[in-house]
Subunit: 147 residues, 3 copies
């Protein structure tokens, strides 16, 4: 039984960037030699989600629209009212209330089964890291557990 | 420590069919003899979700309505525009943009604790596989890990 | 390899109470002595969710508003129609259709990596148990697995 933690580093290019990390996850599993187990793919950010869905470009556009409708960038979030907010203020603080509000309805991690040293996905399933905030460097933590 | 992968096969009967798979999961855990651990219950489909909630028929009707409101079948999804779409087109391709868009807001898997050779659920918790697309054969993958 | 199940008991104070349980989870991990593994933090209730996000009070107010908009308390849920409902009726049954409908769009559990005997979270990530129903005693199950 082995437990291996490894980080995938990404650079996102835009708000609502869907980055397909399936191959990167697969490569990390191969490196470990673990044949049977699970991999927990976890966002280390409050405004990045992990989604398992189909890599069809028009569908991704549909999903972006739905997320934007759910928690629009144009809405006035209290989190973005820097006149009254005092907690967790950084030097480079940006208005990103929409990103957090999109995030709570999306998974922060995906636990996927590992079978025959491969991530076990259905025919159309791909793993995406989804940038909900502005473009930036991001980290995804993988915990690979098995034998 | 054992790691056992097993598949539950289902046949869904309708769009938004909620299939209670709790007993099937429990039976699979019993078979393994694992007393303490976890079970990862994972949909192998991009338009099937795993939901843990209460098996009350009227509540399920409420949930169906909410899902339909969130991503209506009547909306024009770009994924369903076969005049412009070129990627992942199958022979039996159907308009299912609504199903994918429902899916991204629902969990693809549920990781549930296993205690005393049983799935550990609260009083009202049941595990459902939810068909978001048209009726069809479906597969749920269980990874049961423990000792 | 150890597998340790432990319960966190809470008393919620209000509908949509966000209770930061990060330190409680951390304390439980310390007690086990497990240095590398995962912790599965699971709600044992159908109207309590586990959310990983930022502990910024105004943001939490934004999230409450969004959840209320998604599944409003004022909507007429069939689950709350006690003239027609027959299933799972308790003596103290309350109208909580809104709470279940909020719940299906939120995670029932969060699987978080454990590294160096600590829960591995990004800079702003905190773990919340979120009360979707009326205030009451609640239980969160932790399964801590590792070596």
């Amino acid at each position: 039984m082995k437990i291996i933690n490894t980080i995938i580093e990404l650079k996102t290019a835009a708000t609502l960037d869907f980055i397909d990390i399936t191959q990167k996850v697969q490569d990390k599993i191969k490196e470990t030699g673990i044949t049977d187990g699970v991999v927990n793919i976890q966002s280390l950010h409050t405004t990045m989600a992990i989604i398992v869905n189909e890599a069809e470009p028009l569908l991704i556009e549909d999903m972006k629209k739905l997320l934007e409708k759910l928690a629009p960038r144009t809405y006035q979030y209290m989190h973005d009212n820097f006149d009254i907010r005092t907690v967790n203020m950084c030097d480079d603080e940006c208005a990103n209330g929409h990103a957090h509000n999109k995030a709570i309805h999306l998974p922060v991690s995906a636990m996927i089964n590992v079978v025959k040293n491969s991530i076990q996905l259905g025919q159309w399933q791909r793993v995406f890291a989804v940038e909900l905030d502005r473009p930036r460097p991001r980290k995804i933590s993988l915990q690979i557990i098995g034998a």
